[in-house]
Symmetry: C2
Subunit: 294 residues, 2 copies
């Protein structure tokens, strides 16, 4: 990551009525020491995050990302983020983005161990070059996520529907996929249902119908998938949330991994079996996803 | 946590032959900024840790803790820790401990995002007052860990046998247990087997036989449990690693949660059902666990 800019945020209560948040935002050097070793984000991955794409200075889908941040905070029993404060921070950071594609990351941690208040910061970095993934696609390996489809709803303490900082497993899954000769992983439940990729949603195409696994306690509701479905509906396609079996993944006419920064990456192979890529159609999807979206 | 001392460690290769590690250890202020926001420990809980008890200046079970750190590093594909370097760091920190009980925490993170080397540090803090947990015991709530007993071995990417920094779920489980009127949680598999507590091992007593759930890819091998079993064997008791059903937990003559800092905390209730505490015997166990152990 080429870090370009960072702000430390002093979180205010969610019902704070102040008009300006300027004095709660402080520019920090993204490469300099900023967090003490007692930070619970660093000690226990105890916090939540969001990653937003920025295109030509425009932060994409700010509302849906903040909505999900609030949802994650509730699941993790963190203080509710003040939406206007986070919006102000995002605007301040996006103003530094300039042309091209960048990434804004929002982090809300439980704070320093033994301390009384959460810690929050926001960073701006250059986006990695995703041209190849968008055009030639990604080969995926399916990996068991270890739980049955009904587990997350009955065991909310597993935090499976929250976007927490405890992402070691997600990173290990990507390494395992690469060891298998793939580029990315797709998690499947122990009872054979497609869930999501470690950092992306899965969308399948069957004829003129697009399907994504039903968001639930175990699957994050992808902001990019949500935006893409609205676009597809406008174009006259049918969209659906449904359970998707591993067998259906192989039978789909096409599939994509959707995420905020890489956007639509067509699936080029599933567990070594090639899958057709509709390049012109994927280009259209990414052109839409690269347009300013709120 | 009352942080008292911290060292930053510049990790050397595991085959480094140098005789002194002094110039790889640097005293830092545990309350001052030390980690940049790009630290992968803080961004993704991507790293591993160990917590050691220190009694009267003596760090307990250094060998077994370092052995487990190395095991976690292998599972997470982190560079192998240099044992002599970590021993030197532990000695340096323990020298600051003084009388009473303290906690040493070892952390090895994957480093700064985009950087080439891991980050490592070690802290010293006062131990919390565990007198009450050791004498009056802890009430536990059993919570579904979401996976069947055979999952961790076939899905190593879930990192369930590694002591990673991704502990948000462990902390959420303790909060859920407290919401249920208990003090701590005990995870059970989705097929009904006792696993471990979020930060402790479980040991059950049946007559003169002591049983703990078999360490596996899904259960950390507790250093304190290991030490306690050696002690119990010396005293003529039988010890065993075995599968333990949730029903057996309720049928045991007694049970303890074992961990490096709280040591032996007798279980006073399981899901609201009181359990007998043998206070004199537990006092003996803790007297042993508080004696210098290597």
């Amino acid at each position: 990551m080429a870090w370009r800019f960072a702000l430390r945020i002093d979180p205010v209560a969610s019902d704070d009525r102040r008009e300006s948040f300027d004095d709660t935002l402080r520019v920090i050097d993204p490469g300099a020491p900023a967090l003490p070793v007692g930070e619970l984000s660093a000690q226990r991955g105890d916090g939540i995050f969001e990653s937003l794409g920025v295109v030509g200075g425009h932060p994409q889908e700010v509302g849906p990302h903040l909505e999900r941040l609030v949802h994650s905070a509730q699941l993790c029993e963190l203080p509710t983020p003040h939406l206007a404060q986070w919006r102000a921070a995002i605007e301040r950071v996006a103003a530094e983005a300039g042309e091209g594609e960048s990434v804004i990351k929002l982090v809300l941690s439980r704070g320093v161990d033994g301390g009384a208040s959460p810690t929050a910061w926001i960073t701006l970095a250059d986006a990695p070059d995703n041209a190849r993934a968008r055009s030639e696609g990604v080969r995926i390996a399916t990996l068991d996520r270890g739980y049955a489809l009904d587990v997350p709803a009955r065991a909310p303490w597993l935090l499976l529907g929250a976007k927490t900082l405890s992402y070691a497993t997600n990173m290990a899954a990507i390494r395992e996929a690469q060891r298998r000769g793939a580029d990315d992983a797709v998690f499947v439940s122990s009872d054979g249902y497609v869930l999501e990729a470690p950092t992306a949603s899965v969308v399948l195409r069957f004829g003129d119908r697009f399907v994504t696994p039903t968001p639930s306690a175990g699957i994050l509701h992808g902001t990019t998938q949500l935006s893409l479905f609205a676009h597809l509906e406008q174009r006259g396609f049918a969209t659906a949330y449904d359970t998707v079996t591993t067998a259906q993944l192989a039978e789909a006419d096409a599939a994509w991994l959707l995420s905020s920064v890489r956007l639509a990456a067509p699936v080029a192979a599933v567990d070594g079996q090639p899958m057709a890529i509709d390049r012109a159609f994927t280009d259209e999807l990414n052109a839409y996803l690269l347009s300013p979206r709120d």
